[in-house]
């Protein structure tokens, strides 16, 4: 993930030197550094791949594999990893584009990416519609007459579908992409500001986060309520990722390397683990001070609770410390599937959501049971891996036969697709 001393980089000034013919003079902020082109940060791919697998498993009904997802062991979950790494890679890819080609072209490329994500979202919505329509007509269990009220929206497809296109009607499990779209839309502004004053940008982001909590700001949704992931709060993680990518991580290397940080992180993770344990083994909650509970709960996912954010930071700090960039395991064939998936995050994310729908459908219509459940989880992961492999293969072939111009820096997927 983010790191620090291991990120080899050339400063912007260095880049400018290398290309003296590079057009207009720019304001150069020496604080910003970009890793050298072509050096892929495999840890980013690895953890993004892991996040994608975990999101898929968490979207299936709970089963044995669910116990391996990190949300059971602390406050944060795969969403934090995904958004942070997305911020990191997006800043990495489009930050470079902005330096080399200017604000306008980078913005155009970001908007093209936003469009891709939007289309992916609409595609998933169509699949959701198909599923819910089917369930609505086939499900008549008298135990659940009340829950069938969820189908009421089918009575007004004119409104519902338009609202879905406006990203205001978002079924369960389809919240991440709209969040991602909004964050990417803000990216040109974030990068523009970060190019000049990275620390001020991060501070502004934290301020917006605080204001969101203080004034209860939110994005409204249809038919009522609000977005399940509030972009005004989650942007903090995204901007923090961008900040790390643009040199912040390197400047934090001192802090990250300190044993104090390590022990605080460990203590916090253990404490969070204990709290999580009380959710599953309520007998333990006798040992939880009531006042602490009242202060702590609810741990809000919508607005990215501070406890979740700090839990993610602690995990990231330890990961960076114990998993060096040159760790040979990153090249091992065992981690290859994860890394492959992480390298094609948008495609694999959508596939994961689709597979979760499909898995749910099979469980409901064909047969349940834990064996079936495990089979679905495992085959889902295998399919994700297989598709990621095919995409990689196709890209290789296409790149070979295509022009070389869009090689290295040009491709959004280079750093995992932004």
């Amino acid at each position: 993930m983010t790191i620090a001393d291991q990120v080899t980089g050339s400063t912007i000034a260095g880049t400018a030197e290398a290309k003296p013919a590079g057009a207009k003079p720019r304001i150069v902020a020496p604080a910003i550094t970009l890793p050298a082109i072509g050096e892929r940060e495999l840890r980013l791919d690895l953890f993004r791949g892991l996040a994608l697998w975990l999101i898929f498993i968490d979207h299936l009904p709970p089963n044995l594999l669910t116990w391996f997802t990190i949300r059971n062991y602390g406050f944060s979950d795969a969403t934090e990893i995904f958004i942070f790494i997305s911020g990191y890679t997006a800043a990495f890819v489009y930050g470079r584009a902005m330096l080399e080609n200017g604000f306008l072209i980078a913005t155009a490329r970001i908007l093209r990416r936003v469009w891709q994500i939007y289309v992916a979202h609409v595609f998933l919505f169509t699949i959701f519609l198909a599923e819910i329509s089917y369930v609505a007509t086939s499900f008549e269990n008298p135990l659940y007459t009340e829950e069938m009220g969820i189908m009421d929206f089918l009575k007004q497809p004119d409104i519902t579908i338009v609202q879905a296109l406006l990203l205001r009607f978002r079924p369960v499990n389809m919240d991440v992409l709209p969040l991602y779209i909004v964050l990417m839309l803000a990216l040109p502004l974030i990068l523009w500001s970060m190019k000049r004053r990275p620390d001020v940008t991060l501070a502004l982001s934290a301020l917006l986060y605080a204001a969101t909590w203080e004034f209860d700001l939110y994005f409204s949704a249809y038919p009522n309520g609000f977005w399940a992931f509030n972009p005004l709060a989650w942007q903090l993680l995204f901007v923090f990722g961008a900040w790390c990518a643009l040199g912040g991580a390197r400047r934090m290397s001192r802090i990250l390397a300190s044993p104090v940080t390590m022990w605080i992180s460990i203590a916090y993770i253990v404490a969070a683990f204990y709290v999580t344990l009380t959710w599953y083994v309520p007998q333990l909650s006798h040992f939880m001070p009531k006042r602490l509970e009242q202060w702590m709960y609810p741990i809000d996912k919508t607005d990215l609770d501070v406890l979740r954010f700090t839990h993610f930071l602690a995990l990231a700090a330890l990961t960076v410390r114990f998993l060096p960039r040159e760790w040979p395991g990153l090249k091992s064939p065992w981690l290859r599937p994860l890394i492959l998936c992480g390298q094609h995050s948008l495609e694999i994310f959508c596939l994961g959501v689709f597979l979760a729908f499909a898995g749910h459908f099979i469980l409901a219509e064909v047969s349940g049971g834990s064996a079936m459940h495990a089979l679905i989880s495992l085959s889902g992961i295998l399919i994700m891996w297989g598709v990621a492999w095919v995409i990689s293969w196709y890209k290789r072939v296409a790149d070979k036969s295509g022009t070389k111009t869009k090689a290295a820096a040009g491709n959004a997927d280079l750093a995992g697709g932004g």
């Binding site: 269990n141 135990l143 007459t145 009340e146 829950e147 009220g149 969820i150 009242q294 114990f322 349940g368």
Partner: protein, 256 residues
Amino acid sequence: MKVRVLLSLILLCAGLAAPSARAGDAVPAAPAACELPPYLLTTDSQLHKVADTVKAGKPLEILVIGSRSTTIPAQEDSSYPARMQAILKDKLPPAEIVHVSVEIQSKKTAEEAAGTFVKLMEAKTPTLVIWQTGTVDAIRSIDPDDFRGAVTEGVAALQNAGADVVLMNLQYSPRTETMISAPPYLDNMRVVAQEHDIPLFDRFAIMRQWNDQGQFDLFSPSHGPELAKKVHDCLGRALAQFVIDAAHLGPGQQQN
């Protein structure tokens, strides 16, 4: 990574150990399918008024405020409030009069339901109110903060009217899991219960336990009422047991 692996292992062990601590002391005549681990039926909060009423030998008037999932269509006698009444009569001293009435707030959110409580409590004066809510709010994805506020208000209104309160959360409904997001509502009900020190009957966890352990296949698209009847019977038993425990009606008051 190491830490995570370690934690996974610890939790896995804990997870494996948990089911072995099964309840041996459920309702004696309960069918095996109703079995639950004891932690799902215990609470730190107490029902003082219920305890006093039963100890004084006065009639126990219980009001269930619910929604469509409180009943089974066309099978009122098999719904969980009716089953709870039968079990309570069975377990409490024979002289004890138990009467359970049901107030259905169909398609009402917690806020809409809470608005009716003052009048409702004037009309009936129950010793205990079991308020089952959350489903409609989840379906309409009401803001969880607003939901928490509404539940808080409702609980306060019921308590001010002089009743003990038990909160009951959503059903576990695996087939609609991809369409209805229950967790925010479950969490907020837990918070309100904690803040007011009232018992929370965790219907969601209980039904999930039954589904996971294979006692009931809640995924089933069954068209008949049989499954619903069995589940409601077990819910009624669990609820009766829960009320007896929360009121600390020891063996002296129970007829075993």
